[in-house]
Amino acid sequence: DAGITQSPRYKITETGRQVTLMCHQTWSHSYMFWYRQDLGHGLRLIYYSAAADITDKGEVPDGYVVSRSKTENFPLTLESATRSQTSVYFCASSEMGGIRNTEAFFGQGTRLTVV
C-alpha cells in the first residue's frame, strides 16, 4: 500500500528494555520525522532526517536513537525505556522542500506504554 506506515500500533514494554518503532514510507520523500505527543501538549520533534544517512536531533532527543540507511525506513529506538517515554509516537514524511514548504504526511501513530 502506498503511504506511510508505523508498526507496531500499540506496544507495552518494561522499564529498561530496548524498543524499536518502525516507520516506512513508499513515496521516496526526502524528509522523515519522529514526534512524540503527550497529553495536553503539542507534538514535539524527537529526530528528523533530511535524506538517507543524514539524521539530526530535534527538540527532545535524549534516550532515543535513529538511523536511516534507506530512504523509505526511519526506525526509532528507545535504548533503555523509561516511564517518561510513555507517549504516542508519530512518524511523518515530507518532500524535498521540507516541512515548512510542503505538506507533512503522518503515520497512524504508535501508542507506547512503559511499565
Binding site: G42, R44, A50, F90, A92, N101, F106, G109
Partner: protein, 109 residues
Amino acid sequence: AQRVTQPEKLLSVFKGAPVELKCNYSYSGSPELFWYVQYSRQRLQLLLRHISRESIKGFTADLNKGETSFHLKKPFAQEEDSAMYYCALSGYSNYQLIWGAGTKLIIKP
C-alpha cells in the same frame, strides 16, 4: 522563543453555528502558519496553510501579524467538522514545526 498557543482545549458548538478556533503564536520573524486536523480514527493531515490563502472544507484562516494570531474560522459548522485541530508554526528551518496543544471541536446536532 517560538511558541504556539491554542487557548481552548475543547470547543463545542451547534451545527450551523459559526466556529472560530483560536491560535496565537510567538515568533520574531516571518512564520509559516498551518492548521492540521485529525478526524476520529484518521491520521493527522494538513487542513490549510496561510501562504496558500485557500478555503478548505469551508474553513479559512487569516494571519494577523499585529495580533500574532492565525485563527481558524468557518461560518456554518457541520457535524463532520468534529475533530482535533492543531495549529503549527514553522520558522526559518525546513524541518521544524512548533505545535499547539490542539483544540477538540465538537459539533452538536
